[in-house]
């Protein structure tokens, strides 16, 4: 059985060798398709196929120019025939210097001219090679003729061309004779079904190796998919997602409500790396009675409070802000989490970006203690971060006591710092009226995501190149 295209090609072949270029011209098909079909026909033993490398001399751009205008020696001779004599320097104004010296040499050798004291004197007309240029162009030049021009710089060049020749053989003729298009169905249409024609005819065979453009696909963003996976893990561990997310929050929520002294200087959670708004210097996004209580607490313990600082709007710089907001409506016992974007001023490079994602959580319960905190952290980090083991070091955060830094053992990277955690300070919880322990933590997601996605430039977590997503 042969395909439709194979049939067409076979039919176009004769017992005489026919070149691929000629064949594809006859068929009106692209050469690569015809060549592939010839390959298949050859494999099936229906045709003879041979390949030839043809070497041909063709004119260069300069050669083409000489063909149009005449070789310089011919043109010089034309001038001399008219003028009888001419100064070499005059010729050099009209022609290229090299052309002049070559042409005069040629003309003198063939006895057409004499050169006397910088002057060229005409003797007789001689034959130049212009006719050979024409023959090369028309692919009629003999080897000897070509030799005459090869010596001249830049007129001819050698090109190699691969050409294929095919002819039908006896097997091919037999198959062709037996092949009856009337007995074959090419297009599988509704009509084929309705008419029942498929019962009488055979379907033509496809070339299953044909290449077609890939179908489009809808696709989730890989990084967001990773975040979805983390959220799923936390929900399965009984955590409820917090619903307070905002880009712009007050300094009050971001830091003051967390018992961070307002005159606390540079540090991890400092104002040094916080973004401020250009046109707004106040936001009221907190309940007034809580504000009053937090303010009292600051004055009592830190001896410092400035209402203007508290009300400054900033881009949320850590997700613990939302843990703090959640305390207003948290149930006891309760487990809450948030995975969302925070903003910090930084110099942008492969390792640092200004927008990143944190995973924060709190657990509230009457009998919770430090060892529960460690247990929760271990469970989350092993489940969520795919770590093999965790270890803890004492740390300091203004809003937790005790505080720990959590390190996870990663298969490839060894021990890496993944989270900060602790038990919220009594002094911090007091204004919220919460008197049970609250375990809290915050972890950066970027590093884990980069490992998971096999990315080593943090900027690539955000879409940079849409074309790449389409592949």
């Amino acid at each position: 059985m042969i395909t439709e295209l194979e049939y067409k090609v076979l039919k176009a072949l004769t017992e005489e060798w026919k070149s691929l270029s000629e064949l594809s011209r006859d068929l009106g098909e692209e050469e690569y398709k015809v060549l592939r079909t010839l390959g298949f026909l050859n494999t099936k033993g229906l045709i003879d196929l041979r390949e030839e490398v043809e070497k041909n001399y063709v004119l260069t751009d300069l050669g083409e120019k000489y063909l149009r205008e005449g070789l310089p020696e011919k043109r010089i001779l034309d001038i001399l025939e008219r003028e009888r004599e001419i100064e070499i320097k005059d010729l050099e104004e009209k022609f290229d210097r090299d052309e002049v010296s070559f042409s005069l040499g040629f003309l003198k050798r063939s006895g057409a001219i004499d050169i006397v004291g910088g002057k060229v004197i005409f003797k007789k007309r001689v034959k130049t090679y212009d006719d050979i240029l024409k023959k090369v162009k028309e692919k009629r030049a003999s080897e000897d003729e070509i030799k005459l021009l090869i010596g001249r710089k830049g007129i001819l060049k050698l090109v190699e061309r691969r050409e294929y020749y095919a002819r039908i053989n006896e097997n091919g003729k037999k198959v062709l004779m037996e092949f009856d298009p009337e007995k074959v169905i090419y297009h599988y249409t509704k009509d084929v079904l309705d008419s029942g024609v498929w019962k009488k005819k055979k379907f033509s065979k496809y070339d299953i190796n044909m290449r077609v453009p890939m179908a489009e696909i809808g696709r989730y963003n890989k990084y967001l998919e990773f975040l979805d996976k983390l959220r799923e893990e936390l929900v399965s561990m009984g955590f409820e997602e917090m619903e307070n997310y905002r880009i712009v929050v007050s300094h009050f929520w971001n830091l003051d409500s967390l018992f961070v002294p307002q005159d606390h200087p540079a540090g991890d959670i400092s104002l040094m790396d916080t973004f401020f708004l250009k046109d707004f210097d106040e936001i009221i996004d907190f309940p007034e009675d809580l504000y009053k209580k937090v303010k009292e607490q600051h004055i009592k313990f830190h001896n410092f409070w400035d209402d203007r600082i508290a009300k400054v709007p900033i881009l949320v710089s850590h997700d613990t802000t939302f843990s703090s907001m959640q305390l207003l409506k948290a149930k006891v016992p309760g487990k809450y989490f948030i995975i969302d974007k925070v903003f910090r001023y930084d110099t942008i490079d492969a390792k640092h970006f200004i927008e990143f994602t944190q995973l924060d959580g709190i657990v509230l319960g009457k009998d919770l203690s430090f060892i529960d905190l460690l247990g929760v952290l271990k469970e989350i980090i092993i489940n969520v971060a795919g770590a093999e083991d965790v270890k803890f070091y004492p740390a300091f955060f203004p809003f937790t006591e005790p505080s720990v830094e959590v390190y996870a053992k990663h298969k490839k990277l060894g021990w890496i710092e993944v989270a900060g955690a602790g038990i919220f300070r009594k002094e911090m919880l007091e204004p919220f009226g919460i008197d049970v322990p609250v375990l809290a933590w915050g972890m950066g997601i970027e590093r884990l995501a980069m490992i998971y996605l096999g990315i080593d430039d943090i900027r690539e977590l955000h879409t940079k190149n849409i074309r790449r997503l389409q592949d």
């Binding site: 997602e241 973004f275 203690s369 300091f396 074309r467």
Partner: protein
């Protein structure tokens, strides 16, 4: 968090122990510090605890580590003798920089490394805990050059002049603020005051100009200095005394003898430093509740001893005692922390709390996920672009005010996007090739101004092809709303970023929830986007409101 440099040899000498790099790393982690660099000669050490200013010095670290290794345990022993000398405080400083605490430490066994350490400690404390000298400023001076009593008073900036540290000529206080490096750096702390604080001795020689600079002679310490006069000035009496206490213990660790002074305020006299033992009483059971396990009394005593804290027991109570170079032990929670850290966190047996709670996602998240799922099923590709975008691009798609960033990290990110379109077009700007057709979407947060700062989540869908039309994107919108079972209406609109007559506003009932249309070629030209684009953007918040109204959430 502050980072200090510590000389390894001096550190080993004082500790009486030569530790390997790994041993130092491990030991530091247990006292809330971290070795962040070591070149064989100097270690750079990160001190994490904001309130442990005593650790901002080589001697302080060694004191803490001696406890950790059990070389010296319990409250360190410092003797304080009254010097009989006075510092007299002028009432007028009350409004400028009201509090001062002073001490003299004599016979210090000084050397090059210790001098460096003392100066470094001073800098680090006044920068971190001192909030860049606003809360605390420290001066250390050669005590032998001072005639007591010393006066702390407010003076006219033009009237008093002296040679400031490392300068060659006398300058008035005003000149110091205008011309010296520290004057320019900290001058703002004295902004608005007509008089400036100075410390002068009996003969009227200026000792220092807090919080700016010391004098060049009295206020310069050298390797030959044996007796040091320390002044700590600031806004809170408790804090100036606390900082002075820390500093004198460090100087005493370098062999010095601590002498106290009488500070004469108008209404009362106080003696500083104040190296008292503070004692606090707690229920032992309260402490165990924080930790999660109980321990026997001897073990607690041993652990706290290594933290340089003493303790006694009285039935169910524990009395904790510490020297007041520390101010971070106030509650049972704080004591539990000391015990946990001393015991070793990684020795504790973990427990997963047996609290039953039901896990869930928010309605916002569930709705966003539903929309994303529909968009992916419709064959579109999800994008994740930045919330911060270039202001000019943002403006192209915003009819109201733009929320701009005062201190942007880059021009590309100097405003908050008010539409997803702006951040997606920022990514597509000048974009080379793309496969056609391209169906793209993103769900994300935006912020805009509408009588106040507002935020919303939006869904953007874009269709790029060699030919696009309103109906290409409308068919997607129709399908989307059909899937979420909400009806919508279109009304003619007039947005500049869309082609006139080929755009509409999308409504649910009477609520405007988004736009749909073909993007104006003017915008595509500006952003060098070479394919026609059509799309829509809708408010997720409004969809949720509608679902809530229909009791479907």
């Amino acid at each position: 968090m502050a980072v200090i440099n510590v000389n390894y040899l001096e550190f080993s000498k004082l500790l009486g122990k030569r530790l390997s790099k790994e041993e130092i790393e491990e030991a530091l982690m247990h006292i809330k510090c971290e070795l962040s660099g070591f070149d064989g000669e100097y270690m750079s050490i990160e001190v994490k605890d904001f309130y442990r200013i005593d650790l901002l010095s080589l001697a302080g670290l060694v004191r803490e580590l001696k406890g950790f290794f059990g070389i010296e345990v319990g409250i360190p022993n410092y003797k304080v003798e009254f010097s009989g000398r006075e510092v007299i405080v002028d009432r007028e400083v009350e409004k400028i920089r009201p509090f001062i605490a002073c001490a003299i430490v004599e016979d210090i066994d000084m050397n090059e490394e210790r001098l460096k350490d003392i100066i470094q400690m001073q800098d680090k404390i006044s920068f971190s805990f001192g909030n860049r000298r606003k809360k605390i400023a420290i001066g250390t001076h050669n005590a032998e050059l001072i005639d007591f009593p010393v006066y702390y008073k407010a003076v006219d900036p033009e009237e008093v002049s002296f040679v400031p540290l490392f300068e060659e000529r006398e300058m008035s206080l005003r000149e110091i603020l205008e011309k010296t490096k520290t004057g320019k750096l900290y001058g703002n702390l004295l902004k608005g005051f007509s008089k400036y604080p100075v410390l002068m001795d009996k003969k009227g020689k200026v000792i220092s100009f807090p919080p700016i600079i010391n004098s060049n002679d009295i206020g310069r310490l050298t390797e030959e200095t044996r007796n040091i006069f320390i002044d700590v000035t600031g806004s809170s009496l408790n804090d100036v005394i606390f900082v002075l206490n820390s500093i004198v213990t460090i100087l005493a660790d370098y062999g010095g003898k601590i002498k106290s002074l009488k500070i004469v305020y108008g209404d009362r006299d106080i003696i500083t430093p104040d190296l008292r033992i503070i004692s606090r009483e707690f229920l032992i059971s309260d402490i165990f509740k924080w930790i999660g396990i109980s321990m026997d009394k001897d073990e607690i005593k041993d652990i706290l001893g290594r933290k340089r804290i003493n303790c006694k027991f009285n039935n169910d109570r524990i009395i904790v005692e510490y020297l007041n170079y520390r101010k971070d032990i106030n509650t049972d929670q704080d004591v539990a922390e000391e015990i946990i850290v001393g015991y070793g966190i990684n020795r504790l047996k973990l427990r997963y709390p047996s609290i039953y709670t039901k896990g869930s996602l928010t309605i916002r998240r569930k709705t966003i996920n539903t929309l994303r799922k529909i968009m992916v099923s419709l064959g579109s590709i999800e994008l994740y672009t930045t919330v911060l975008v270039n202001e000019d691009i943002n403006k192209l798609f915003t009819e109201g005010e733009i929320i701009r960033i005062r201190n942007p990290a880059s021009e590309n990110y100097n405003s908050i996007r008010s539409s997803i379109l702006s951040s997606v077009f920022q990514v597509m700007q000048g974009m080379g090739s793309i496969k056609l057709p391209a169906k793209l979407f993103e769900v994300g947060r935006v912020s805009y101004y509408e009588g106040g700062l507002k935020e919303d989540d939006r869904l953007l869908y874009l269709y790029l092809n060699s030919e696009v039309s309103f109906s290409d994107v409308l068919s997607v919108l129709e399908r989307l709303f059909k899937e979420i079972k909400i009806d919508f209406d279109l009304k003619e609109s007039n947005h500049k970023f869309l082609i006139e007559g080929r755009q509409a506003d999308i409504y649910i009932g009477s609520n405007l929830i988004g736009w749909i249309g073909e993007i104006n070629p003017e915008i595509l030209e500006k952003l060098e986007i070479k394919y026609p684009v059509a799309g829509f953007e809708i408010s997720v918040g409004e969809l949720i409101n509608k679902m809530k109204d229909d009791n479907r959430t």
